[in-house]
Each structure stands twice: as structure tokens, then as C-alpha cells.
């Protein structure tokens, strides 16, 4: 069953405070978090989080089209066998 709309999106409260602090500092930094369950809010766009996958903190650069998803969706916990041979990475 889907989450009730009246509750709003779930996000761990301490993340909001840290995100605000990080944005105010304006430094190039990674916010390391364990909270994979938190929803990505519009306030997080432009920040980089290190989301723990049980092994390491994978960098997640938050963009607008990620809003509404959970942090854990971008930090897979299973071993990934490899990207395609002709795959390209774009520098953000």
C-alpha cells in the first residue's frame, strides 16, 4: 500500500539540517549518510551525498529528476558485474 499523501514524504530530520549547513558553507563536500530510506527533497538538489551501501559510501549527485526517489535507489547493495564496453561517463 502506498504511503498516505497527508503525511508528506519521509525524510530523516537530521538530514535536512545537515543539508542546509552544507549548502550554506558552499564548500565542495560529500555528506556521508546511512539513511537510504530518506526521500530526496528539492532542497537537496545540487548537493552530493555519500550513500552507504553496506560496504562503501557511493557518491550520489542529486539532480532535479531524482526528487521523490529514495537515496538507496542510487547506491546498489549487490555486486555490479560491469558497465557496457562502449559506455561513456559525463563529467558533471
Amino acid at each position: 500500500m502506498a504511503r498516505s499523501v497527508w503525511k508528506g514524504p519521509f525524510v530523516d530530520g537530521y538530514l535536512l539540517n545537515k543539508a542546509e549547513t552544507s549548502r550554506a558553507s558552499g564548500r565542495n563536500e560529500i555528506i556521508k549518510i546511512w539513511s537510504r530510506r530518506s526521500t530526496i527533497l528539492p532542497q537537496f538538489v545540487g548537493l552530493t551525498f555519500g550513500v552507504y551501501n553496506g560496504h562503501k559510501f557511493l557518491p550520489v549527485q542529486v539532480s532535479e529528476n531524482m526528487v521523490g526517489h529514495k537515496f538507496g535507489e542510487f547506491s546498489p547493495t549487490r555486486t555490479f558485474t560491469g558497465h557496457s564496453a562502449d559506455k561513456k561517463a559525463k563529467r558533471g
Binding site: 563536500e29 549518510i33 555519500g50 564496453a85 562502449d86 559506455k87
Partner: protein, 177 residues
């Protein structure tokens, strides 16, 4: 980089009795593998690949002859198919092939060595580089201009400015990590 080979596919099991084989393509779009023909194997033999169905292909040797029968197809099982790096199309502005990034030497802005790029992670939230340090420790940095200000594929060097880290542990009352 001139003679570097990129693994593009692997021959699977034989299909039928007419010399067809299953091919596991490692390209982003599996059907694109045929466009990279001729493909080279470990021994340097060139093959032209023609798709005959979903995942099923005909391999033709340099003289254009297909594999004769199932026995010839079975002899090709587990053959790795490569293309020379220079045959891949040019990447766009600020785009890099993962195959080019892996193995580059990472240095900090002052020129001190940080290690070697071991892996490129990309799970839909921007690419990130995993740099294996000389002491076995690994460093994960987002692949953006702030953290990776310079990439010189020809020289085999990237400049990495590791971002500061801010640890956000849940308060003690919350469920501990």
C-alpha cells in the same frame, strides 16, 4: 592507446546445426555490436558478425565464409571479441569512455600521486571514480569539475581534488547504523 583492445562481446553456445552461435554483447545496445565488425579474437583473427535473430549471430571469417557447421560453432564457444580502441566513435564534450578512465594515474592538485582509477561507478546519480591508493585504501570521488578539474587521457593523468567529507550519523535515539 593505439593498439589497445576493448572487449565488446563473448561467443556463447552453438545455435542449431548451421554454424550459428549465441553472442553476449557488451555494447550499450546489443544490436550495435555488428556495427563494430570486424571483431578480433585473442589470436588476432578477424570476424564479421551478422545478427540472425535475437542474440543469435553468424560469424564470418576474413574471407567472408561463415562457420561451416555446429562443430565449428562449438569450437568458437567462449571466444572473446574485441575492437581496437581507436574504432570507437569520438566522445562528446566532457564525455569519456569508461575504458579510457580506468587505469589513469590520479594526482592531487599539487602533483602528489593518489593512486590509480580502479573503477567507474554510474548508477543513475552521476558517475564517480574509485581510486585505489598505493596502501590498498580506496577513495571515491564524484566525477564533476569540482572534484576532477583536469582529465588528460593522452598523458594518462587525472587531477583529483578530494572533496571534504561530512559524516551524518543518526542521533543516538535513532536506530544505529
Amino acid at each position: 592507446m593505439a593498439d589497445r583492445l576493448i572487449l565488446m562481446g563473448v561467443v556463447g553456445r552453438a545455435h542449431g546445426v548451421r554454424g550459428l552461435v549465441r553472442v553476449h554483447s557488451h555494447t550499450a545496445d546489443p544490436a550495435e555490436l555488428a556495427a563494430y565488425s570486424p571483431l578480433l579474437d585473442d589470436a588476432g583473427r578477424a570476424f564479421t558478425l551478422v545478427w540472425k535473430g535475437e542474440g543469435v549471430a553468424e560469424l564470418r571469417d576474413e574471407s567472408g565464409r561463415p562457420l561451416a557447421d555446429r562443430t565449428a560453432a562449438e569450437a568458437m564457444v567462449n571466444t572473446r571479441l574485441y575492437v581496437p580502441r581507436e574504432r570507437l566513435p569520438a566522445a562528446g564534450q566532457d564525455e569519456f569512455y569508461l575504458a579510457d578512465l580506468v587505469g589513469l594515474a590520479a594526482r592531487d592538485p599539487a602533483g602528489a600521486p593518489l593512486g590509480t582509477v580502479a573503477t567507474v561507478h554510474d548508477y543513475g546519480a552521476g558517475a564517480s571514480l574509485e581510486i585505489a591508493g598505493p596502501n590498498g585504501a580506496s577513495l571515491l570521488v564524484p566525477f564533476n569539475r569540482a572534484s576532477v578539474p583536469a582529465v588528460d587521457i593522452a598523458a594518462g593523468i587525472i587531477v583529483v581534488a578530494p572533496p571534504a567529507e561530512r559524516l551524518v550519523a543518526p542521533p543516538a535515539a535513532e536506530d544505529a547504523p
